[in-house]
Amino acid sequence: MNALLELRAVRAAHEGITVLHGVDLRVGAGQVVALLGPNGAGKTTTLHVAAGLHPVQSGRLVLGGREMTGADPRALARAGVCLIPEGRGVFPNLSVRDNLLMMTFTGRTREEIEELAFDRFPVLGRRAGQIAGTLSGGEQQMLALARGLATDPAVLLLDELSMGLAPLVVSRLYEQVAEIARQGVAVLVVEQFAAAVLGIADHAAVLVRGRIERQGRPDGGLRDELSALYLGSSA
């Protein structure tokens, strides 16, 4: 079976400065791929390219075996590409219920969306009337995930899920991500802090200055090399 998401030799730039220098990535259905790397490596740009939000200079974006380079991001979102951006992407001044209500544009009813969200994240059900901005960071991230799931994604792109969260919360969130992947969703996770995501990832790639320096199964060797890349010394 073809990979659901594939980047082939993608080069992309910000204001004329090339930040991705030929990135190759594949994510299959039901697979979690972790894209790791230090700050400024181009991880978020890679996600934006995959979501169609950032143009490529060269290379190809292939979804479900079809060439989609340069396609309208709204069309990709309608087809099932869902990006959960860094910073959670919830409406902070709306309640949890209203945040979920905003996802009814997907064609699902309010009841269906709430059932899906509250089954997976029971804490959201208990806080349905609470203003989203007053939720804890972990709960906001759960809400963002629930909103993403309401779109019935085939490809889920997660940007820095763990940012600002306690390790225990992060580990619970990643358990949910693994569960989502088991349902056949291709998940690409961008992370600066590798520990949590490597526990659930089927494959990991290390992006440094816009180039994939290493990729493979997330075993001990990769962890050692990650430490070396972060610390700038050989493992």
Binding site: D24, A29, G30, Q31, G80, R214, Q215, E225
Partner: protein, 145 residues
């Protein structure tokens, strides 16, 4: 650990109990992508149409104004008719350009505005129906006078 070439060891989705869904969603995804009929990105770009619309508007206006001077500064009726034709062409170009510009610049904004409007209306409707319900339950008015 392998070098930088893309991996080929992608875990195939389960085909057992938990894996019944993966195939179906993935297949549906591929089908939906095909159904979208996404145009060749090189062939049509919204930004290109937007710039073309703006350019047509400006060029049309310039043509219309210059046509006025063409027809005004000559006694030759043939030249004056050329000026008329040029002016009409310029106005047509401006109208088409404005339509293109509006189509590709305002639609995104209007879509968001309409979504916001419908959301506000839904909230208002909820509030009104709630108020009516409360009023019905607590009202002591016997009948309208």
């Amino acid at each position: 650990m392998t070098p930088t070439e893309p991996h080929t060891d992608a875990r195939e989705p389960d085909t057992t109990a938990g894996g019944r869904l993966p195939d179906s969603r993935a297949d549906r995804f591929v089908r939906e992508l095909a159904d979208l009929k996404i145009p060749d990105p090189a062939a049509a770009r919204a930004g290109l149409w937007l710039r073309l619309g703006a350019a047509l508007m400006v060029v049309g206006l310039v043509l219309a104004v210059s046509a006025y001077f063409v027809s005004h500064n000559t006694q030759n009726p043939l030249d004056q008719r050329d000026g008329l034709a040029l002016g009409l062409g310029g106005i047509a170009g401006t109208v088409v350009g404005a339509a293109l510009f509006l189509r590709y610049s305002l639609t995104g904004f209007l879509r968001f505005w309409m979504a916001r409007q419908s959301y506000d209306l839904a909230v208002l409707a909820d509030r009104l129906s709630e108020r009516d319900l409360n009023h019905d339950l607590t009202s002591t008015d016997a009948a309208p006078r």
